[in-house]
């Protein structure tokens, strides 16, 4: 798939987005456009408003200013915390969006099990309640829930933080595979520049105070086409030479006296 042909019809357009919580501005004049099938990694220091932006884009939060135009069919979302229904089993949690779509019980069950398989959740764990699952299992349940509805766009908000290295890679490969097969585009929030460079077409850096997008960098090559050495070199290059990335890990140094 070539990006040039799809640039004409963006899947998501955010224009002039601003938002304030209780009078405190957290986002201002954010413009961002994602091409169809594009995976964009959104990075920025903690508290700069990445999650808020994703919530606005997904229609969870009404922005105070600006417009959101969605041109995809249906989105899924993986929140920063799993947000599972505590009273429902993992299976029922994965099937919850399907229930909202009004699918018959049998089909819900089948599709939930397929989605669970994609995120390597054991069948035996599907009958457990969230409280009985490990942190990583909960996160995978939440990922499966987002994938079960067969979305053509997915919002990922730091989805793989609770996973071990091997599982993290496996989940990243899932996103890469989806991007390559044009199954879905994604806005992928992460703190991990390695992850961003590995899976995305483009890295978008948010301003440290939510005042718009500080800049974006296309990542050379295609997701899935970059080996580990390339990823490592690209990240090292970004961090040492590119002023855009100078502040993304700043937050700790700023806070410490």
């Amino acid at each position: 798939m070539t990006r040039e042909t799809t640039d004409a019809a963006p899947s998501l357009t955010l224009s002039g987005i601003g938002h304030a919580y209780l009078g405190r501005t957290v986002l201002d004049a954010v413009d961002l456009t994602l091409a169809a099938g594009e995976v964009a990694a959104l990075v920025g220091p903690s508290g700069c408003g990445k999650s808020t932006l994703a919530h606005i884009a997904a229609g969870v939060v009404e922005p105070s200013r600006g417009r959101v135009a969605r041109r995809y069919r249906r989105h899924g979302m993986v929140f920063q915390d799993p947000r599972l229904l505590p009273w429902a089993t993992a299976r029922a949690n994965i099937a919850y969006p399907l229930r909202l779509l009004g699918l018959p019980r049998r089909e819900r069950r089948e599709r939930a099990e397929q989605a669970a398989q994609r995120v390597a959740l054991d069948r035996a764990d599907l009958d457990k309640f969230p409280i009985e699952l490990s942190g990583g299992m909960r996160q995978r349940t939440a990922i499966a829930r987002a994938l079960a509805i067969d979305p053509d766009f997915v919002y990922f908000d730091e989805p793989f933080t609770a996973l071990d290295v091997a599982l993290k890679r496996r989940m990243q490969d899932l996103v890469i595979e989806a991007a390559r097969g044009a199954r879905f585009g994604a806005l992928f929030i992460t703190h991990d520049l390695m992850e961003a460079v590995r899976i995305a077409h483009r890295v978008v850096v948010m301003d440290a105070h939510g005042r718009g997008i500080a800049g974006t960098r296309a990542v050379p090559g295609k997701p899935g086409g970059r080996d580990d050495g390339t990823v490592y070199r690209l990240v090292a290059g970004f961090l040492s030479d590119d002023p855009l990335f100078r502040h993304i890990h700043d937050i700790d140094e700023r806070r410490t006296p």
Partner: protein
């Protein structure tokens, strides 16, 4: 598929077993109570406190009398009618208050006033309004039981997880879908304990109101027993009222509640389960 079904069945059987076990523990508690009662009887004599077995015998005699069933039925009907009204009014009001802060602010002082008026005053008022009829009893029960349900439901609605609401919204759920799939399910966990308490107080208030308003039922029978200074009969009627309450609680309220609390129990080790 079949193994899953068998597993679910086993799970349910396990819960029935647990439930019976809790009934067994309850029986032990009752036996202890009866022993204390017997000790009291031996200390104070037949007139003040008849023996538990004698009371039981009196209770059985009453239970063998169809007229007594009619009286008990009368009380039960009144209590349940008042309870049903209270449950409906309390749940609706509680939901409204839990979802809208303005309603909550309006409702809170009204609630304080309602709770501040002693039940006995309501009985007097209801007697003036309705005379010695069912209406008196039902009104008193309604006033006594509604605040309990209201507070429980409102607390449930207020403590709902807004993160889950946002999650549902992200997957395209409208307000109605969010209410039915998330809000009501969360509130149910608060509703059932409140209903248990409300049902208990409905029975107690119904009996008290019957006694004071002289409108028949168990309360009326109690009044008659008092007039005849028949302590055994009075205690027998109390026993019957309590037995009815326990029956309703263990056949209806507890099974439904344990079904709703399944996920909470899932995290508890075996020994700690109630």
């Amino acid at each position: 598929m079949t193994t899953a079904r068998a597993g679910a069945l086993l799970d349910r059987l396990g819960r029935v077993g647990q439930f019976l076990w809790s009934g067994w523990a309850g029986l032990a508690g009752l036996a202890l109570f009866a022993a204390l009662w017997q000790a009291g009887h031996e200390r104070y004599g037949d007139f003040i406190l008849p023996a538990p077995l004698a009371t039981l015998a009196a209770g059985l005699t009453i239970a063998a009398d169809p007229a007594a069933w009619e009286l008990a039925g009368q009380t039960t009907l009144r209590a349940v009618e008042g309870f049903a009204l209270a449950a409906a009014a309390g749940a609706a009001g509680g939901l409204a208050a839990g979802y809208s802060a303005a309603t909550m602010r309006l409702a809170r002082p009204i609630l304080t006033v309602l709770l501040g008026v002693p039940p006995i005053a309501w009985i007097v008022l209801a007697m003036i309004w309705f005379g010695s009829t069912d209406g008196t009893i039902i009104t008193t029960v309604l006033v006594a039981a509604t605040p309990v349900v209201f507070v429980g439901v409102a607390e449930g609605a207020v403590t709902r997880d807004r993160g889950l609401d946002d999650m549902a919204r992200a997957f395209g759920a409208g307000p109605l879908a969010r209410l039915t799939t998330l809000g009501l399910r969360h509130v149910a966990a608060f509703l059932f304990p409140a209903l248990t308490v409300a049902l208990g107080s409905a029975f107690k208030v119904a009996v008290m109101a019957e006694l004071l308003a002289n409108t028949g039922g168990i309360g009326g029978a109690l009044a008659a027993a008092r007039a005849n200074l028949d302590v055994a009969e009075a205690l027998a009627w109390v026993l019957i009222a309590v037995a009815g309450l326990i029956a309703v609680e263990y056949t209806l309220v507890h099974p439904i509640r344990s079904e709703f609390e399944r996920w909470r129990n899932a995290a508890r080790p075996w020994g700690v389960k109630r």
